[in-house]
């Protein structure tokens, strides 16, 4: 690792002050991506501002037909939360299948969403449910948030404080794991929200995206058969040592069908 200074913030104001005072600061959430990145010398921040002591970023609350989850809530705590399991079981299942148990104990919702790894699971749920990202300065709709590979609408120094997920009529997330890393080679989050259906695809492209044709078909009939005949374009998808773009396109379709089956259970 390149040298850096470390600060443990005790409040949002404290975190912002430490970030603003740093030459090239970076926020540390669970560290499950940032620390490996530092170890590989792929990043050279001057300062780490640890958010683990900021109470305002914790907690899971029911707000009417929404579930609000603090940015520093771990995947493990989302997975076992009675509120999440009751209101949005698909989100609890997704959180309980990220990485492995030790990673889930440290990794956080806010860290994962702010990082926007193309193979991360949470962006699928955030976009698939049409969640709202609350930052320290504004609200951002999921549709406006994920802009490109590892890029989001967050400005320099802007912090996610919580994410509000609407309770869907039904939803499911199904992914094809990379057998070694457990990352999604392709993952599809399907949600029915009133008359609307949202289908978010993660793992397959440079960033999470919605598949409008599948959404329209499922709005007409929410059934696996409705996806018959819909082709997934391999053109914009990722191709790497784990899977070709064509294979990913095939997987997206298979995962989408399985997600619809799962959502109907």
């Amino acid at each position: 690792m390149f040298r850096f200074d470390y600060h443990r913030a005790t409040s949002l104001e404290d975190a912002r002050a430490a970030f603003d005072a740093a030459e090239d600061g970076v926020f540390l959430a669970g560290g499950m991506t940032l620390i490996p990145t530092l170890k590989q010398r792929l990043a050279m921040p001057s300062d780490l501002v640890d958010l683990s002591g900021v109470e305002a970023l914790r907690g899971i609350t029911l707000e009417g037909d929404h579930v609000k989850i603090g940015a520093m809530v771990s995947h493990k705590d989302v997975a076992k939360s009675p509120n999440v399991r009751d209101a949005i079981p698909a989100l609890a299942i997704l959180a309980g299948d990220i990485g492995d148990p030790m990673v889930r104990a440290r990794g956080t919702l806010g860290g994962s969403v702010a990082n926007n790894d193309p193979a991360a699971d949470y962006p699928g749920a955030v976009l698939g449910l049409g969640a709202t990202i609350q930052t320290d300065r504004r609200e951002i709709l999921a549709d406006d948030f994920f802009t490109a590979m590892f890029e989001t609408a967050l400005e320099d120094g802007e912090l996610i404080s919580s994410i509000r997920f609407p309770r869907p009529e039904r939803a499911a997330y199904v992914k094809f794991h990379n057998p070694a890393s457990r990352y999604a080679i392709a993952g599809v989050f399907v949600a029915q929200l009133g008359e609307k259906v949202r289908v978010a695809v993660t793992g397959a492209g440079p960033t999470v995206f919605r598949h409008r044709e599948m959404e329209q078909a499922l709005e007409r009939t929410f059934a696996p058969d409705a996806l018959e005949g819909i082709a997934v374009d391999a053109g914009p998808l990722n191709s790497d040592m784990h899977a070709s773009a064509d294979f990913r396109a095939h997987l997206v379709k298979v995962m989408a069908v399985r997600a619809v089956v799962q959502a109907l259970k």
Binding site: L28, G31, K39
Partner: protein
């Protein structure tokens, strides 16, 4: 800038000055000479570095020592302070849950976490919960048996 940290390691209060770049696993191994916690892959895949932080199994290769300021740490050395094996260690010995032994400290620490969180763990649960621990010798059969037996021993001794 080096920082002073206070934490509890295997029941003993520790105060040390560390560089922010120091990993928790290196702090345990190099500063405290607790070399039972192993560095396998150093990329948070293999789980050989698994320790308990405030009772929760975590991978010490992906945590900075400064993040553990104020925490309670338990390593493999803290399991049998009087020389009598912890039930999970005894189960690994009895069921031949190790061959070369490199992954064993992490397996045992994860196994104890499984027993605490899933006192009725069946084989499928144990296999799923061991996803973050890799063994290149045993093929996992005896590790799963050992964790199941260790879980029963721990549950019986606590009830």
């Amino acid at each position: 800038m080096a920082l002073s940290i206070n934490l509890t390691v295997n029941g003993e209060a520790v105060t040390k000055t560390v560089e922010p770049t120091c990993l928790l696993v290196d702090f345990l191994r190099d500063d405290l000479q607790l070399t039972g916690t192993h560095v396998g892959c150093d990329t948070s895949q293999c789980g050989a570095c698994t320790i308990h932080l405030d009772g929760q199994p975590v991978k010490a290769c992906t945590i900075l020592a400064v993040q553990a300021d104020g925490a309670e740490i338990l390593t493999i050395e803290g399991l049998a302070p009087e020389g009598e094996l912890h039930p999970m260690q005894a189960a690994f010995a009895q069921h031949h849950g190790l061959q070369c032994g490199f992954c064993t400290p992490g397996m045992v620490m994860t196994g104890i976490g499984i027993a605490r969180q899933h006192p009725d763990a069946d084989e499928a649960t144990i296999r799923r919960e061991l996803e973050g621990n890799l063994c290149r010798c045993t093929g996992y059969q005896n590790i799963v048996k050992a964790v199941a037996a260790g879980t029963r021993l721990m549950t019986d001794s606590e009830s």
